[in-house]
C-alpha cells in the first residue's frame, strides 16, 4: 500500500467513525438487532398477511406462482417492487406486487428480498 493510499484510508475511516456518532459505553444500551434470517422471516410474514387472492382470478380458476423482488426503504416499506418471474397471469403478478407494497413496517434489511408468492385454489 502506498503512503497516499494509507492516508486516504485513514481519512475515510475517520469520516465514517464521525458519521456513526457512536460513543464508547452506549453500545450496550441498543438491543441487539435480529439476524437477517429472522428479519427475512418477519418480512415474509408481513407480505403473507397482506396478500389477497384476486376475486377475478378466483372466478376464472387462475393459479400460479409469482416471484417478486424488492428493497426495504428507510420508512420500512417495500420499494422498487418488481416481478422477477411471472406467474403467467397479470392478475396474480399484480396481487403479489400489491401485497409487498401493502405489507406494513418491514424490518430493515440490506439488499434485495426475493419472495415467491403462490396462489392456489382449493377444490372446494
Amino acid at each position: 500500500m502506498t503512503r497516499t493510499a494509507r492516508t486516504l484510508a485513514a481519512l475515510a475511516l475517520a469520516v465514517a467513525s464521525a458519521g456513526a456518532g457512536v460513543r464508547a459505553g452506549e453500545v450496550d444500551l441498543v438491543a441487539a438487532p435480529p439476524n437477517p434470517e429472522v428479519r427475512l422471516e418477519q418480512i415474509r410474514e408481513r407480505v403473507q398477511a397482506a396478500v389477497v387472492y384476486p376475486p377475478a382470478a378466483r372466478e376464472r380458476g387462475i393459479q400460479g406462482v409469482a416471484r417478486i423482488q424488492f428493497r426495504i426503504d428507510p420508512a420500512g416499506r417495500a420499494a422498487d417492487v418488481v416481478t422477477v418471474e411471472s406467474s403467467g397471469s397479470q392478475l396474480l403478478d399484480g396481487a403479489a406486487l400489491q401485497a409487498a407494497r401493502d405489507a406494513l413496517t418491514l424490518p430493515q434489511l440490506y439488499g434485495w428480498v426475493r419472495i415467491p408468492v403462490r396462489f392456489e385454489l382449493a377444490r372446494r
Partner: protein, 689 residues
C-alpha cells in the same frame, strides 16, 4: 457526477497508476464523492446486489362462483327475488319477458304452453328444441320431447338459468335452441331453516296454494313441498286441477361433497277447449270437441357429488321417472282415446378437475349420459311400443389464455337407438340408429371488469322423437335428425346500476323437422335447410335508487332456405313472430311496497299449418300487466307479503296461437284466444334462518 461514474473513472485510474486494488480505490472515491458532487443533481444510490430469498408466501382460496360475464353464451339468471318481483302466474309467463324466448299457449291454462328459444316456436306437430332441466333432471317428455309446464310451479323454484343457443355439445338431444335450467327451492336451500307458505285467489275461479319446508340437522338436510292449483280457465272447458308433492333429503359429506335423494309426484286433470272460428266469443269452447287429459307423474332422483383421488370431482344424477297420460279426443266424426305409459331411467355423470397444461390452468370436464325411455301407447286405433336408448359422452376444456381471454372447447358424441312396433300400420317394426358429433368452440374476452364479449360456433341436433316417428297421423321411419351449424356473437355489461346483454345469432338447420299438413293426412317431414337468424337485447337500469326500468327485444327471422321436395323455399316458418319485446318499470316504494308495470308486445306471425302464407297472418298484440306487493318483516327472518296482480289490463282481445285447419269445412284459420283482463290476489309468508 454520480457515484457510479466516479467509481468507473477511479477503477480506470487505479488500474493504470497503482497497485491499490481498483475496488478499494473506487470505494474511497465514492465515499469522497459527496464532497465534489456540489450542485450536481442527486440520484438514488445503485440498488444493492445482495439478494436474499425469503420463504414462500402462499394464499389458498376456494374457487369463486363463475361470473356470468365469462360464459360464452347469452345467459340470464332469474333468482327468487326476480321471480317474486315479476308477478308472473307461471314459469312460461315469467319467461315471456326474456329476450330470445318465445311462448305460446293453446288452452289459456298451464297445460297449453310451449316455450322455445331461437325461433323454434314453429307451430304444432313437431317436438321441442329447448331442453328443460329440473335440478339436473330432464323434464322433456320422452315421447314428444316437450315439457309439461303444469308440473313446474313458480312457488317451488329458487332460480332459473336461461341459456340461449345450441347446447348440444354439453347436453345432447333437445338442446338445439337453448337450455332452461330450473333449481328448486328445497334442493337449493343453504340456511338452517326455510319455510314458505303461499295462497292465491284469481280470476276464473282460480285458487292456488303451496307449502315448502326445509330444515338442516347438522350435515343432514330434509325438505318437503306440496302445492295445488285449480281453475275453471278463461274459456269454457279450459279447467285445470293440479296437485304436486315432493320430498328432498341431502347429506353433506366431510369433504364438502353431498349425497342427495329427492322424489316427487304430480297429477293433473285438464280440459282442452279447442280452437275457435274467427268472430266467435273468445270465452267459448269449440262446440264440436270434448277433449281432456289426465296426467300422472312420479320421479326419484339421486344426487352424488364426490371427491375422487387425483383431485377429480364426480357429480352423478341417476333418475327414474314414470308418467301416465290419458288423452281423450272427441268430435262429431270420431272419438279417440289413448293411454300412454312412459318410463325413463338414466344417469348423468360428470367428472371434472383442474389441470396445468403448458403453464396454463385448464378446467377439464367430461361425462356421460345414459338413458332409456320406454313408451307404450294404447289407443282406440292401435298399440304402439317404443324403446329409445341414448348414450352420450362428452368432454369440455376451457382455459384462460390471458387474464382476459377465455378459450372453451367441447365435443360430444350421441348415439340413439329407437326401436318400436305399431299395430296401427300392420307389420310395422322400427329400429333406427343415429349417431352424431356435436363440437363447440368459443372465445370470451373480458374487456373490462364489468364487460365481456364472446363469439362461438357450435353444432346442435335433435333426434326424431317417438311421436314424430310414429304418431297419430302417420309413420315416418325415414325422418332424419335435424342438425344445425350455429354461430353467434354477443356482449354483456353488468354493473350495480346498469345491465345490458345482447346477442346476434345465425343457425343453419339441416333437415329441420316440420309438420306438413299437406303431406298425406299431415306428416312430419324434413326440410332441407332452415335458416334461423336474429338479435336479442335486454337490459336493466336503475333510473333512481328506488326506480328501475328493464327492457327486452327479440328479432327472429326463420326462413326455409332449401326445400328439394316441397315448395317451401323462401317461406317463413309459422308462429314465431319477427319482433317481440317487453318494457317494465319497477318501483321500490316506502313502507315495503313494490310496484311493477310491464308492457309486452308480440308482432304478427304466420299461423300454424300455413307455411305458404296463403291466409292472413295472426295479428300482433300488446298487453299491460301490473304487480303490487306489500312486504312486512314480522320478526327476524320472518316476512309476510300481500300481493295483487292485474294482467292484460287493457283487455286486449288476441289469440296466442292460431292454425289453419284442413279438417274444417271449408278449411279456415282457427284461433286459440288468450285471457282478457284478469287479476289475482295472494299472500306469502317466508321464514328463513
Amino acid at each position: 457526477m454520480t457515484p457510479a461514474p466516479v467509481a468507473r473513472v477511479a477503477r480506470k485510474v487505479c488500474a493504470r497508476t497503482s497497485g491499490l486494488p481498483s475496488r478499494s480505490f473506487a470505494l474511497l472515491l465514492a465515499l469522497a464523492c459527496p464532497l465534489f458532487a456540489g450542485a450536481e443533481q442527486a440520484e438514488p444510490p445503485a440498488p444493492p446486489t445482495i439478494i436474499r430469498d425469503a420463504g414462500e408466501v402462499s394464499v389458498v382460496a376456494t374457487r369463486g362462483e363463475r361470473n356470468l360475464l365469462d360464459v360464452p353464451a347469452h345467459v340470464t339468471v332469474l333468482d327468487r327475488a326476480a321471480i317474486e318481483r315479476s308477478g308472473a302466474a307461471s314459469l312460461p309467463e315469467l319467461l315471456r319477458g326474456e329476450a330470445g324466448i318465445g311462448v305460446s299457449n293453446t288452452t289459456t291454462n298451464a297445460e297449453g304452453y310451449t316455450v322455445e328459444a331461437r325461433g323454434f316456436l314453429n307451430g304444432a306437430g313437431s317436438g321441442c328444441r329447448t331442453l328443460v332441466l329440473v335440478d339436473g333432471r330432464r323434464a322433456n317428455e320422452p315421447d314428444s320431447g316437450c315439457v309439461d309446464w303444469t308440473f313446474l310451479g313458480l312457488d317451488q323454484i329458487e332460480r332459473v338459468e336461461v341459456i340461449r343457443g345450441t347446447g348440444s355439445a354439453a347436453y345432447g338431444d333437445n338442446a338445439l335452441g337453448g337450455v332452461i335450467a330450473i333449481f328448486t327451492r328445497g334442493a337449493s336451500a343453504e340456511g338452517g331453516t326455510l319455510a314458505a307458505l303461499s295462497a292465491e285467489r284469481a280470476s276464473f275461479d282460480a285458487e292456488r296454494a303451496s307449502a315448502l319446508v326445509s330444515q338442516r340437522f347438522g350435515a343432514l338436510r330434509v325438505g318437503a313441498s306440496a302445492a295445488f292449483d285449480d281453475t275453471s280457465g278463461y274459456r269454457a272447458r279450459s279447467d285445470l286441477n293440479n296437485k304436486r308433492a315432493g320430498v328432498d333429503v341431502a347429506w353433506e359429506l366431510a369433504d364438502g361433497g353431498e349425497l342427495g335423494l329427492s322424489a316427487g309426484y304430480a297429477s293433473s286433470e285438464r280440459s282442452r277447449p279447442g280452437a275457435l272460428d274467427a268472430g266467435t266469443d273468445p270465452r267459448s269452447t269449440d262446440p264440436t270437441t270434448l277433449d281432456f287429459a289426465r296426467e300422472r307423474e312420479g320421479f326419484v332422483r339421486g344426487a352424488l357429488d364426490l371427491e375422487l383421488p387425483y383431485e377429480w370431482r364426480m357429480q352423478a344424477t341417476p333418475y327414474y321417472r314414470h308418467s301416465k297420460a290419458r288423452n281423450h279426443f272427441e268430435n262429431p266424426f270420431f272419438t279417440f282415446d289413448s293411454e300412454a305409459d312412459n318410463d325413463s331411467a338414466g344417469v348423468d355423470l360428470q367428472l371434472s378437475r383442474d389441470l396445468e397444461v403448458l403453464g396454463k390452468s385448464v378446467r377439464l370436464l367430461g361425462g356421460a349420459e345414459l338413458r332409456q325411455d320406454d313408451i307404450d301407447v294404447a289407443s282406440s286405433f292401435a298399440k304402439n311400443d317404443a324403446r329409445r336408448r341414448v348414450c352420450g359422452v362428452f368432454v369440455q376444456a376451457e382455459s384462460w389464455l390471458r387474464d382476459d381471454v377465455l378459450l372453451s372447447f367441447g365435443l360430444r358424441r350421441d348415439r340413439s337407438d329407437l326401436e318400436g312396433r305399431s299395430t296401427q300400420f300392420p307389420g310395422t317394426r322400427f329400429d333406427k340408429e343415429h349417431a352424431l358429433w356435436s363440437p363447440r368452440a368459443s372465445l370470451t374476452w373480458r374487456f373490462h371488469e364489468n364487460g365481456s364479449a364472446y363469439v362461438s360456433y357450435g353444432r346442435g341436433f335433435r333426434f326424431p322423437n317417438v311421436d314424430e316417428t310414429f304418431g297419430f297421423f302417420g309413420f315416418s321411419p325415414t325422418l332424419s335428425p335435424e342438425r344445425a351449424h350455429s354461430v353467434e356473437t354477443g356482449a354483456s355489461w353488468r354493473s350495480e346500476r346498469f345491465e345490458l346483454r345482447g346477442a346476434l345469432y345465425a343457425m343453419w338447420v339441416e333437415d329441420e323437422m316440420f309438420f306438413d299438413p299437406f303431406s298425406g293426412f299431415g306428416q312430419n317431414v324434413n326440410l332441407d335447410e332452415v335458416r334461423h337468424e336474429g338479435a336479442e337485447l335486454s337490459g336493466r337500469v336503475a333510473l333512481l335508487d328506488w326506480l328501475h326500468a328493464s327492457a327486452s327485444y327479440t328479432r327472429d327471422d326463420v326462413k326455409v332456405t332449401r326445400d328439394s321436395v316441397g315448395s317451401l323455399e323462401g317461406e317463413q316458418l309459422p308462429i314465431t313472430p319477427k319482433n317481440r319485446g317487453q318494457l317494465a318499470l319497477e318501483a321500490e316504494l316506502p313502507l315495503g311496497i313494490e310496484a311493477r308495470l310491464a308492457g309486452t308486445f308480440v308482432g304478427d306471425r304466420r299461423v300454424a299449418n300455413d307455411p305458404l302464407g296463403s291466409v292472413a297472418d295472426l295479428d300482433g298484440y300488446a298487453t299491460l300487466d301490473a304487480h303490487l306487493a306489500y312486504t312486512r318483516d314480522l320478526a327476524p327472518g320472518l316476512a309476510f307479503t300481500l300481493e295483487a296482480n292485474g294482467r292484460n289490463l287493457t283487455g286486449s282481445d288476441y289469440a296466442d296461437f292460431a292454425g289453419y285447419s284442413i279438417f274444417s269445412f271449408p278449411p279456415a284459420t282457427r284461433f286459440y284466444p288468450a285471457a282478457q283482463a284478469n287479476w289475482s290476489v295472494g299472500a306469502r309468508i317466508r321464514f328463513e334462518r
